[in-house]
């Protein structure tokens, strides 16, 4: 699409090979520009998370990528065909190029080893040349950056609040300065105020580091405010793919319409409730 594209996904298909095979993602294509936010919306079970996992080849059997390609256009100018990566290459690619922030902030952290160990093992795997003290220093800086504070390095996940855990996840996702961050419902389980803070945080970080984001949520009004481009998924297919304005003003698919109006509005105007602060911060950022 644009000259400066980061990720091209073409005719992507994912099938759950169970008794009656379930076609979870069908013929999905999209283009993600460098520094862009792509919003991926749809109801639970529409295949959006499966798609995100597929792009990072995190699917486990019986889920299987049956067709299509995902090409990652690296900063260095090399194009990476993600589906063709060998196991070792894939391991090096993960987190270094694409990091993820998961849905279940509650369980995404290992409960029995401390934050420091979970963060430093990113560096000891991907940056073996770093010394131990450098690794720890880097992790401490990341926690400071994200507003958790370096004194939390030795904490365990049960000692942190839900918002803090999600921040730690984001700090981890930032560790290797990836070019793409996939965020799967990063704020869903959090209360509205914490949600606003975190969205603000993400927005500032993106401004600072210039990574692209695939933001997955069922909350379309939120996406309208933060995304550069929105894809709407229904039963494994992208039924609508456009800019937020176009989607808001003249939705091409009746399902989009349904999603737009499925959120309660206190003022009678869509999306005009509670989170406006963070959202406007993000949208000004997004429209640059």
């Amino acid at each position: 699409m644009t000259a400066d594209s980061l990720l091209s996904v073409n005719n992507y298909n994912i099938v759950y090979q169970v008794e009656t095979p379930v076609h979870a993602v069908r013929d999905v294509s999209f283009e993600l520009g460098r520094g862009e936010i792509l919003g991926l919306a749809g109801e639970s079970g529409c295949g959006k998370t499966t798609l995100a996992y597929g792009i990072n080849r995190l699917l486990r059997p019986p889920a299987e990528i049956t067709d299509g390609s995902a090409i990652f256009h690296d900063q260095s100018g090399i194009d990476v065909d993600i589906n063709a990566l060998s196991v070792a290459e894939l391991r090096r690619y993960r987190w270094d190029k694409v990091s993820m922030v998961f849905q279940g902030a509650m369980n995404a952290l290992n409960p029995v080893i401390n934050i420091q160990k979970q963060m430093t093992d990113i560096f000891s795997t991907h940056r073996p040349e770093m010394s131990k003290s450098e690794r720890i220093e880097e992790c401490a800086d990341l926690l400071d950056l994200i507003g958790v504070g370096r004194d939390r390095l030795r904490s365990f996940s049960h000692e942190l609040s839900g918002g803090m855990r999600q921040r730690v996840m984001i700090a981890m996702a930032l560790a290797l300065k990836p070019q793409l961050m996939i965020m799967d419902e990063p704020t869903t389980a959090l209360d509205v105020l914490v949600q606003r803070d975190i969205l603000q945080e993400i927005s500032e970080l993106r401004h600072k580091f210039g990574f692209s984001v695939i933001f997955i949520t069922h909350d379309l009004p939120l996406l309208l405010e933060i995304s550069d481009r929105i894809a709407i998924m229904l039963k494994g297919e992208i039924v609508e793919y456009n800019t937020p304005e176009q989607i808001y003003r003249n939705a091409g698919h009746e399902y989009t319409d349904k999603l737009l109006h499925s959120f309660p509005s206190l003022t009678g105007e869509r999306g005009g409730f509670v989170r406006s602060g963070a959202a406007s911060a993000l949208s000004s950022e997004a429209t640059r």
């Binding site: 987190w95 849905q103 952290l109 290992n110």
Partner: protein, 329 residues
């Protein structure tokens, strides 16, 4: 109340229950152990009033003191280390006999249990990690070993390697031709030689249980979110398996140690009998066969206390490996 305080108070209650059980059994069950014991003792030598007193404290009073008074004297007797005198080894006090037998059992069962635990956990980890592999398909076979009675396995091992092939000694804890127990290499090597077969019996019969538990926990742990996170982070598979999956999956095995240890101890008592191993198990059976009630009660108490102690240690270890138990409330 935090985890540690709760655990320790539980063991205090368990200790009290064990002591009380030990007090009640000879008094509530039919038979007159005091009379039988006094008669047997009388055949060996004069009954001093002190001796009679200590037997009555342990097994039941003939002087019709109220039960609570008896209970109190029993508890004070136990805490001062007075377990009476053995008939089998007359006139040796029960405490001395137990002190001789206990180290044999603790070392042999201890080493056997630790090896079985390590083998079971390691294989269980690998089987759960690669579900459907050849190792995983062997899981039902290994757990069949659990259904094999310890003592029968001991009999077979004894028959094959001691009677048929004469690789291992038939019975005992060390070579009687050498000097008695001492800390020299001759004695230690002979103790290892004699202890191998009994310990092997324990390993073979009990590792299957650890294996199955660990394998099943591995399988459920692998579907946790933090495993996906670790994969997305591009960590090496061994790192994910050890620090993320196994590190979490091992917790229930450690927490459930009590149940397994009870089985192992029960099994080893009979195993000791098969090998005539000089530990608490075969001593207990000797006591039972001779109606040596003081020795029997003393051994029961010591075995129970040792199991309680082992469980307490494991529970303390658990607080180290699961940070959530240290949570400030």
């Amino acid at each position: 109340m935090n985890y540690l305080a709760r655990k320790i108070s539980f063991y205090v209650v368990a200790l009290w229950a064990a002591l009380t059980l030990n007090f009640l059994i000879p008094r509530l069950l039919p038979g007159n152990p005091v009379e039988i014991l006094i008669q047997k003792l009388a055949a060996r030598g004069p009954i001093t009033p002190e001796l009679r007193n200590s037997v009555e404290l342990l097994l039941g009073d003939t002087s019709n003191d109220p039960i609570l008074v008896q209970y109190w004297s029993y508890l004070t007797g136990i805490f001062s280390g007075d377990f009476g005198v053995s008939i089998t080894y007359y006139p040796q006090p029960v405490v001395e006999i137990i002190a001789q037998a206990l180290p044999w059992t603790i070392v042999m069962i201890g080493i056997g249990t630790i090896i079985a635990f390590l083998v079971g956990i390691t294989l269980g980890m690998l089987a759960g990690w690669k579900r459907g592999s050849w190792l995983d398909n062997l899981v039902p076979v290994t757990t069949m070993f659990q259904a094999v009675p310890y003592f029968w396995l001991a009999l077979i091992l004894l028959y094959v390697s001691a009677v048929q092939f004469k690789i291992f000694p038939v019975s005992g804890g060390y070579s009687y031709t050498g000097a008695g127990p001492s800390w020299d290499w001759d004695f230690i090597s002979s103790a290892i030689y004699y202890g191998t077969l009994p310990a092997l019996t324990i390993v073979i019969s009990s590792f299957g249980g650890w294996l199955l538990g660990m394998r099943n926990m591995m399988v459920s742990t692998l579907s946790e979110d933090y495993i996906v996170t670790a994969e997305a982070k591009g960590l090496r598979p061994t790192r994910i398996m050890m620090a993320y999956a196994a590190r979490n999956a091992i917790l229930p095995s450690v927490a459930g140690f009590a149940i397994s240890l009870g089985f192992v101890v029960s099994g080893s008592i009979v195993t000791e009998q098969v090998f005539s191993y000089p530990g608490v198990g075969s001593t207990l059976l000797q006591a039972v066969n001779n109606n040596d009630y003081s020795l029997m009660q003393g051994l029961f108490l010591v075995i129970t206390l040792t199991v309680l102690g082992a469980n307490l240690i494991v529970d303390l270890l658990y607080t180290v490996i699961d940070p959530r138990t240290r949570a400030r409330s």
